[in-house]
Amino acid sequence: MKTRSGFRRKNLEITFILLGRRFISALFYLGGISLLFLRTLASIFRRFVRKRQLLDQLNKVGVNSILIVFLVTIFTGIVLALQSAYAFKKFDAAIFIPGMVALSMTRELGPVLTALIIAGRVGASMTAEIGTMKVTEQIDALESLASDPVSFLVSPRFLALLIAMPLLTICGDFVGMLGGYMVGAWKLSIGSTMYINKTFEALVYKDVFTGLIKSVFFAMIIAVVSCYEGMRTSGGAEGVGKSTTTSVVVSFVLILTFDCFFTALFYFVFE
């Protein structure tokens, strides 16, 4: 009996040690991300961001993502209208579909879907690019040439995301509502004018605005997480793959967590 309880205690001890280690490494991770965030802000305020690189990143982040954002949000708008039609028709409430689509798109789906697309499309490629630079010693080379990798690599990406994300989100909002309109006006016999009127009746500036605030935070999350993961990459091609996966997963989790937090905050505090 004595040995068994000793064994159990040992097991418990190991479990706690492992949990503790997990906790500490999570703290280190958050600390690392926060530090990179502060260093990025400092470098943006301290010195200019290279125009050529910023434009290059804006092209990669913004222009090249427009099509996929359009595609995802228009289908979402269509599906949203159809699904709510299914539910609302039971109560003879199809007239509320325009408002429902508009509010869902601007307050929630526009910002979140755009952020998830950008995290998968752009964040992953940022991590892979910076990670490859890290494992091929290009980041060390930057430092050896007296240049700060944060100001050279992170700042332009951070700024580009900060500018492009709200713009993409607005486009996403609009295209999503357009999808809903296509269903509502053409298939559900709500009528074109009626649909548009009902949309603007339900929508106020604040709805769009809160969505945009969210998208700004999502942009910062994606930029910092992707660059941080890239900069801490080690272990060759396999390492690059690993940190790319981690970067997307962490971005997704943080985006959804922050979204939940912000939605609750807006609802309970500012409503």
């Binding site: 050896s144 040439l145 240049s147």
Partner: protein, 260 residues
């Protein structure tokens, strides 16, 4: 003068550098030899301040590299160049942009002046008309030479660090690189620190050779002194023998495994 004083560095509780002290005089070419993974690159990265020591210090012309603020450190780095093992050219930029990087970022020179300097640097290493190529399209030897051109493009460079300059090259290209290092040293009067495990290269370019083993410097001397040393560890390394004091523990283990 580069003074390395009681330098210690560990990664994940593995001691890589253990209390290393080494002085490299101005204008001298010091070659650090040692087996792969012994911490030679780590030593170089401490000299240029990319890695920070756990304890100890690196002092370059009176400035303690590990204690400097970021902008002061960058000032020191402007006087240094480093050739990386895989050349580490920025693959998003052309060869010309790579070589002129430091001038573009840290000087007020005009575009034309930078282009001229880039051409000169490329001419020194014997490559012409490749400014507009991307690094991907270069061979290993060419990449190394462009990396070298990038390291020496600024006139203020006084110290050049070479991380395995001849590894992965064919013997002829290796010798060409050795000649380049010697002529750079003679022409530009720069202080050079090279790490390598290529003994042919070490004998050819070195004023002095230091051997790194288990995180410590176990021998320092001129190439002749090293060649004629009685130290069994150094002897095994420079003769490239599989059996000897360096591999003893390992060889025994392998032998036992085979028996089972």
């Amino acid at each position: 003068m580069i003074e390395i004083k009681k330098l210690c560095k560990s990664f994940d509780n593995v001691k890589v550098l253990d209390n290393i002290s080494l002085t490299i005089k101005t204008g001298e070419t010091m070659v650090v030899i040692g087996r792969s993974g012994v911490g030679k690159s780590v030593l170089l990265k401490h000299i240029i301040g990319i890695l920070a020591p756990d304890s100890g210090e690196v002092v370059i012309d009176g400035k303690n590299v590990s204690r400097l603020r970021q902008d002061e450190l960058n000032e020191v780095r402007l006087e240094m160049g480093m050739l990386f093992q895989g050349a580490a050219l920025f693959d998003s930029m052309t060869v010309g942009e790579n070589v002129g990087f430091l001038l573009r970022e840290h000087t007020d020179l005009s575009k034309e002046e930078i282009e001229k300097k880039v051409k000169e640097s490329l001419a020194i290493i014997g490559l012409r008309g490749i400014e507009n190529l991307m690094p991907v399209s270069l061979s290993g030897g060419m990449k190394k030479r462009v990396g070298l051109a990038r390291a020496i493009c600024s006139e203020s460079v006084k110290i050049v660090l070479y991380d395995e300059p001849t590894t992965g090259l064919d013997p002829i290209m290796g010798d060409a690189i050795n000649n380049l290092i010697i002529s750079l040293h003679d022409k530009l009067k720069i202080t050079s620190v090279a790490v390598t495990h290529d003994m042919v290269s070490a004998y050819k370019i070195a004023d002095r050779i230091a051997m790194l083993y288990k995180g410590e410097i176990i021998a320092v001397g001129t190439p002749d002194e090293i060649k004629n040393t009685a130290d069994p560890f150094v002897r095994q390394f420079i003769t490239g023998a599989a059996r000897g004091p360096i591999t003893e523990g390992k060889a025994l283990k392998e032998f036992k495994l085979k028996e089972v």
